[in-house]
């Protein structure tokens, strides 16, 4: 007669119970969900890029970069005037925003008492959060009403958008410069400004460039402030006088896309591609500077 009662095997200490299995599954699920989210973000970027490239392709040729727009109904022409105009607007805006932004950061990080520096930091964050259409309306009320639209008005509006980006990133970078270096300078009897100039700024240079370049990339595509300050321009070709409204890429994209002509639509896509390519290149430049600076500070 055989023994039918079988003793169950002792529970293994290594496989874990139901509770452990459940935890493992939750872990897997969350990993999957977050991976999916990351893939969606990448896919959106890829879709936008691919879409732009496909739609821009018919309008892309050398003329597009070297010729000015042609009157409605004719074919051909390009956006040379907008490229030049955008370069001038971005250049003027950056010439204002970058030095002021870096000086603000130097003030808050190196000179201001903490009582003053944290409100300034907060104010910059607020300024950074102001919708750019509001900045545009502000400059419109201040400089355009009673005068005309002008490159100056557009550049100042862009500078207001750029300033907090440059200043906040410069603050972050300056805060990374080790205190021991400033102390070494102080102990040599150097004055604060000299320490800033000879020790702090060279050490932080890479990071400062990164912040400035990211500010440039950001304002390159700003449309709202320019619609109000530098959007009414005659198609007379390249203008370099910031006293009048300057043609520029974002507004040109907007205008071309409103046109009934399919050729204009293709040109709008091509102009969009130019803008995206510019931002991409500028961001890559910023990254290299950033890495270089991090290495230097880490040493």
């Amino acid at each position: 007669m055989s023994v039918t009662t079988q003793t169950p095997p002792p529970p293994s200490r290594l496989t874990g119970g139901a509770r452990q299995r459940r935890r493992k599954n939750v872990n897997r699920l969350m990993m999957g969900v977050s991976t999916l989210a990351a893939l969606i973000a990448l896919a959106v970027l890829a879709l936008v890029l691919v879409d732009i490239v496909i739609k821009a392709a018919p309008a892309l040729n050398l003329d597009f970069f070297t010729k000015n727009p042609v009157p409605f109904g004719q074919t051909g022409g390009g956006i040379a005037d907008s490229i030049v105009g955008s370069a001038i607007l971005i250049g003027l805006a950056s010439a204002m925003a970058i030095p002021i932004g870096i000086l603000v950061a130097i003030f808050t990080n190196e000179f201001a008492p903490p009582r003053l520096s944290s409100p300034i930091r907060f104010a910059l964050d607020i300024l950074n959060g102001v919708p750019t259409i509001v900045t545009g309306i502000f400059i419109y009320g201040l400089l355009v009403i009673g005068h005309t639209q002008s490159g100056w008005a557009g550049a100042i509006a862009l500078a207001i958008v750029e300033l907090p980006i440059v200043a906040r990133s410069a603050q972050e970078v300056l805060a990374l410069v080790p205190r021991s270096l400033k102390e070494a300078g102080l102990a040599l009897g150097l004055r604060r400004w000299r320490i800033v100039l000879r020790i702090v700024l060279p050490t932080a240079a890479g990071g400062l460039v990164t912040g400035a370049v990211l500010g440039v990339a950001r304002v390159a595509g700003e449309t709202a402030p320019l619609l109000l300050t530098s959007s009414i321009f005659s198609n007379l070709g390249i203008t370099t006088n910031p006293g009048v409204a300057l043609p520029n890429i974002p507004v040109t994209i907007f205008t071309l896309s409103e046109s009934p002509s399919p050729q204009d639509h293709a040109q709008a896509w091509a102009a969009a591609l130019v803008l995206v390519a510019f931002v991409l290149i500028v961001s890559l430049v910023a990254r290299t500077f950033n890495e270089r600076s991090r290495r230097k500070i880490a040493d």
């Binding site: 070494a184 102990a187 040599l188 009897g189 240079a205 230097k296």
Partner: protein, 283 residues
């Protein structure tokens, strides 16, 4: 700092000479009369915290005075009051009198940068300027004083010889100061300090991050430096105090317990607390 990388830099730039030879070729310093520091009734605070409590002390010219005591007793704060670095810390302040010879460093018309030029400081962690070459590091204080051209070059070379770095770096003065080894970096910082020819040198645990051989070199250097300078050195290491100092101050809880010739502090202290500290019973 990546040590491996540093070693590679050393090897690649100076393949024939090892980075740290066993003996330093050091140039003897011209003797000069040092200057005395007299502290009278000094009090220092971090916000509300009273870190230095009414200290009075004198550091004799051309002597090395070591300051020992347990962590947090105020050693570093005390030396940082002497070159007025203490007040650079937010909310910190100091009051009292510190005389350099006859002049009060805390006088109302005194310029703090002038004080720091007369009283140099070497820090715990070597802090060469990372963007500057070896040469520029040593020259950084001189340029400010308006010393340029040949006389600047001469002073830089002389300072590097005095700290025994010359033979190790003379072929790569234009390479970055942070490419040197830890001990070399600290001697570079000492060269930077003596290049401006201060009257007093403060050292805040200058060897605590160095290996024994590099420490020995810095200690030999301190012995040499006192021919010209008055030296105050904060140290955690009692053997170091015994090796380099002519007199030693024992501090506890913001006060001076005892200031006596080094030999007396270690062999025949007059205060029971000093004896317990130097024999390792506490601290």
């Amino acid at each position: 700092m990546d040590l491996d990388q540093t070693e590679q830099v050393d090897v690649s730039t100076a393949p024939e000479s090892p980075p740290e030879p066993e003996t330093m070729e050091r140039e003897k310093l011209e003797p000069a009369r040092g200057h005395a520091i007299s502290i009278k009734d000094l009090n220092a605070y971090y916000g509300e915290r009273h870190a230095i409590k009414g200290i009075s002390l004198t550091f004799e010219p051309n002597q090395v005075t070591a300051i020992i005591g347990p962590s947090g007793c105020g050693k570093s704060t005390l030396v940082r009051c002497i070159n007025r670095m203490h007040e650079e810390i937010p909310k910190a302040h100091a009051e009292g009198t510190i005389l350099l010879d006859e002049e009060d460093l805390y006088g109302s018309r005194v310029d703090v940068t002038a004080v720091r030029r007369q009283i140099g400081m070497v820090f715990q962690k070597a802090n060469p300027f990372p963007t500057m070459s070896i040469f520029d590091n040593v020259a950084s204080g001189l340029k400010l004083a308006g010393i340029r051209g040949d006389s600047m070059r001469e002073r830089v070379h002389r300072s590097l010889r005095a700290v025994g770095l010359w033979s190790e770096v003379s072929d790569r003065l234009n390479s970055p100061g942070i490419g040197l080894s830890g001990g070399q970096q600290q001697r570079l910082c000492i060269a930077r300090t003596i290049a401006v020819e201060p009257e007093v040198i403060l050292m805040d645990e200058p060897c605590s991050a160095l290996d024994p051989i590099a420490t020995l070199k810095v200690e030999e250097l301190i012995d040499e430096l006192k021919r010209r300078y008055t030296i105050v050195i904060v140290t955690h290491n009692m053997q170091q105090a015994a090796r380099v100092a002519d007199s030693t101050v024992f501090m506890l809880d913001g006060e001076v317990v005892e200031h006596a010739p080094t030999n007396d502090i270690f062999t025949n202290p007059s205060d029971e607390r000093t004896e317990r500290y130097v024999t390792g019973k506490f601290g």
